[in-house]
Amino acid sequence: MEAQALFDMLKGKFGDAVVELQEEGFTPAFVVVAPASVKEISRFLRDDPALSFDSLMCLSGVDYKEKFAVAYHLHSMEHRHAIGVKAFLPRETPSLPTVDDVWPAANFHEREAFDLFGIVFEGSKDLRRILLPEDWEGHPLRKDYKYPDFYRGIKV
């Protein structure tokens, strides 16, 4: 399905929760959605027979300095088409609903985004740090991250 047709379909179903379509410079195109309705839209994208995005290829956090974003790359084995979904989050309270009950593979990706960006996925079944030690302070891929001088007595 073409990105524009998919966007129109989502817009017709979810209204204001679907914000815009970013086609310029992106392959596949990105549909920007409101963070609060990520879970309903994800479930629709997976379950609708004309779409059936059964594979979450990647879930990544992005730091745009003034705001955060979470980007989902989806692919359909059945229809061989792909789409990106993006949700922008405010810098002060970066949180949005988890999608790990839609695609179980999302859990490790969400833990990584939580570990390195501090983005909170509400309702996640297991949201712990995945790469860094559990007593690490801060989220290193944030643009305003300051390196600690020492970690457990070892110079960083």
Binding site: L131, L132, P140, R152, I154, K155
Partner: protein
């Protein structure tokens, strides 16, 4: 007499350098290669042991992250005396390619445990690793075990 006893003890120690089967990054591939039949570290008496309690030598083969540092220290503490450490490759020596701008890599394993021999390279070839083991054997042969302690 004491000199001969030193010679005997040192000779037996250097001829049975059992190393810990422990690798954290791509240097481990070269370590496996050096231990396998083509380069055959067995001919120097160096064979791998799967537990630190039977090992004399720790070959730190690869990048050590801050999360891994406590494990490296614990493995080193579990090894019986006398014990030796070879730091293999740029990452274990200084942090290597991660030296600048890395929050998670320890800048040299000598910040955690004492090191006897450093082998440069990214990663070092098996010949370089064997050279490092022979350097360690030379160090062991110079040890004084029975003389008066300074």
């Amino acid at each position: 007499m004491v000199g001969n006893a030193d010679l005997f003890v040192n000779w037996s120690r250097k001829s049975s350098l059992w190393y810990l089967l422990f690798a954290t990054a791509c240097c481990g591939i070269e370590l496996m290669q050096a231990g396998a039949s083509r380069y055959d570290m067995d001919r120097f008496g160096a064979v791998f042991r799967a537990t630190p309690r039977q090992a004399d030598l720790m070959l730190v083969a690869g990048t050590i992250t801050h999360k891994m540092a406590s494990r490296v220290k614990r493995l080193y503490d579990q090894m019986p005396e006398p014990k030796y450490v070879i730091s293999m490759g740029s990452c274990a020596n200084t942090g290597g390619p991660f030296y600048k701008d890395s929050y998670c890599v320890v800048k040299g394993v000598d910040l955690i445990i004492p090191v006897d021999v450093y082998i440069p390279g990214c990663p070092p070839r098996p010949e370089a690793l064997i050279d490092g083991i022979m350097k360690l054997q030379k160090i062991i042969m110079q040890k004084k075990n029975f003389g008066a302690k300074a």
